[in-house]
């Protein structure tokens, strides 16, 4: 029905916007082992995530006691970046677990 041309081929425009160019990011080198390492458990403070991480903390204490865990809360709501906390973890930790997030 468009332009009265049913049954014939129509030329129409694409409604989709332009995606951002994706820049690949390299992962940090992984740890050879967790023995003796400090792993930060990062609570994004969303939907009882802190309560969940307490259980992750308990799991490490029971199953991998050589791993030192530190539970920290993000500085504000999970939607905001938190460079202060990331710098602290970089300076004092060997790895991190963030959960439970969107």
């Amino acid at each position: 029905m468009a332009d009265g041309t049913i049954g014939t081929h129509l030329s129409v425009l694409n409604p989709v916007g332009f995606p951002p160019k994706i820049t690949p990011k390299a992962m940090a080198p992984r740890l050879e082992s967790l023995d003796g390492k400090t792993i930060y458990l990062v609570d994004p403070r969303f939907d009882d995530s802190g309560l969940f991480l307490r259980q992750v903390e308990n799991w490490f204490a029971e199953h991998m006691p050589s791993v030192k865990t530190k539970l920290v809360e993000m500085s504000s709501v999970y939607t905001k970046d938190d460079p202060k906390t990331w710098e602290m973890i970089k300076a004092n930790g060997d790895g991190a677990i963030i959960g439970v997030g969107h």
């Binding site: 332009d3 041309t5 049913i6 425009l13 940090a28 500085s75 999970y78 060997d94 991190a96 439970v100």
Partner: protein, 441 residues
């Protein structure tokens, strides 16, 4: 997204734990951020409200996605070296073609539907002729970059031109003379298809001379589907949002758990300036009465309504309505002109500012109850604990002490309706911005 930053930018091996409802969204976000190898695992949805024992069972259990032990995936995520193969999934150079492959009318309609380019209702196909007619109603060039948009903070912005907006305006059935309003909405960068589990919709209030120029409705049935401009401008805003931000697909780029029927038309209407006893909405936000503007609100999940402003108990009625609102989304009062004048008669509110101040002072809740709301816990409590005011002071209140639910600057009033009766409602929504329409003529 925080895990990606901590891992790639700060060099800290990181694993993210998500709930299984976010599987596709997590894959999509990690790809779009260029880290297809990001390490993550999943536990069952929900975490919220579970006991310690139930949460421990999640930790001890298996990922509902992979079927492998959660903690095994966590430990491997921290220790297993990068493989370098999944990076191939990332497409580094992409472009969106200007035209769709030509086809029959019927096949194109099917194609647009299958590509999730519609709101699932029939659209008007954007032929060159129709798009050209739309573009004739702005002085802006078709290839001018008109803005950027994304569905939430964790996704990257997409870019769009004036022509791309015109394509979506045609699809919505909008007439060319509406185009400056639609351009203003798109240029705001505020998405009407935000991806939040809370199922948002947008609300659009149009002010100034453009209302009459394009025959928008501010009177009887203004928020209902009885006016072509109101309906198609609102629909265009939704369509352009989903198509120009990179999609709005449930489970992938749209995570609204229940959805929101108001998103079909984005509650688009004109303020009834002529029958309002107060200054127009846009004048409170720095514009002249002769300026034409669109004001955008997001949220639109909670609402309360009643008839009239009763002499004896109007204060109690309003307080009860406010208490029934979601404490995280501030109230915008949508008042029929009859109700607006009644508020002046009852409360002496001869300006919107006076009524807003009264609402602020009367929207109260015991502190213990306020802080226990999950939305307040998620979005306000963290800010309070790190000293942000007025939340930090509010956090010091005793559990039974009454605290303000909202900030004065979050409370708004718009007059709309045809005076068939003095109905009014409160819409729980967050004001985003007011944008000039004149700049897009």
């Amino acid at each position: 997204m925080h895990a990606i930053a901590l891992d790639s930018k700060y060099g800290v091996p990181t694993v993210a734990i998500h709930t299984n409802a976010f599987e596709k969204a997590v894959q999509s976000v990690t790809r779009m951020h260029g880290m297809a190898e990001a390490r993550y695992t999943f536990v069952p949805q929900p975490v919220m409200g579970k006991t310690a024992e139930q949460l421990r069972a999640y930790v001890d259990g298996k990922s509902p996605i992979s079927g492998r032990p959660v903690m095994q995936e966590v430990i491997e995520g921290l220790t297993r070296p990068a493989e370098g193969d999944r990076i191939k999934e990332v497409k580094f150079e992409r472009s969106t073609p200007r035209l769709v492959d030509s086809d029959t009318d019927e096949n194109l309609h099917r194609s647009f539907l299958d590509n999730n380019w519609t709101d699932t209702l029939p659209i008007v196909l954007p032929t060159e002729k129709r798009v050209s007619e739309m573009l004739a109603h702005t002085s802006r060039k078709p290839d001018e970059v008109a803005g950027h948009m994304r569905s939430n903070q964790f996704r990257q912005h997409w870019e769009f031109t004036v022509e791309k907006i015109a394509v979506n305006a045609v699809m919505a059935g909008a007439r060319p003379e509406y185009f400056p309003v639609i351009l203003a909405l798109a240029s705001s960068g505020v998405s009407a298809r935000g991806s939040t589990t809370s199922s948002m919709a947008a609300m659009v209030v149009v002010n100034g001379p453009i209302r009459d120029e394009i025959e928008m409705n501010s009177g009887t049935g203004a928020m209902a589907p009885y006016n072509h401009a109101n309906a198609t401008i609102g629909r265009a805003y939704g369509l352009l949002s989903q198509n120009l931000q990179g999609g709005s697909l449930p489970g992938d780029s749209y995570m609204g758990s229940q959805g929101n029927g108001l998103a079909y038309g984005s509650v688009t209407f004109a303020e009834n300036e002529e029958r309002s006893p107060w200054a127009p909405f846009h004048v409170r936000h720095g514009f002249k009465p002769t300026d034409s503007t669109v004001s955008i609100f997001t949220g639109c999940r909670s609402t309360a309504f009643t008839l009239g402003v009763r002499e004896k108990y109007w204060r109690e009625h309003v307080r009860s309505m406010l208490r029934g609102m979601d404490a995280h989304s501030a109230p915008t009062f949508l008042l029929d002109p009859i109700a607006a004048r009644q508020f002046i008669d009852r409360g002496g509110f001869d300006t919107k500012e006076k009524m807003i101040e009264w609402v602020y002072e009367n929207a109260l809740m015991p502190a213990g109850e306020y802080w226990d709301y999950q939305l307040i816990q998620n979005y306000i409590y963290p800010r309070a604990t790190f000293g942000e005011e007025p939340y930090a002071s509010k956090l010091k209140a005793a559990p039974d002490e009454m605290v303000h639910m909202f900030k004065p600057e979050e409370i708004h009033i718009v007059v709309v309706g045809g005076e068939t009766n003095g109905y009014w409602r409160i819409m729980g929504c967050n004001y985003q911005k007011t944008v000039s329409v004149d700049a897009w003529r």
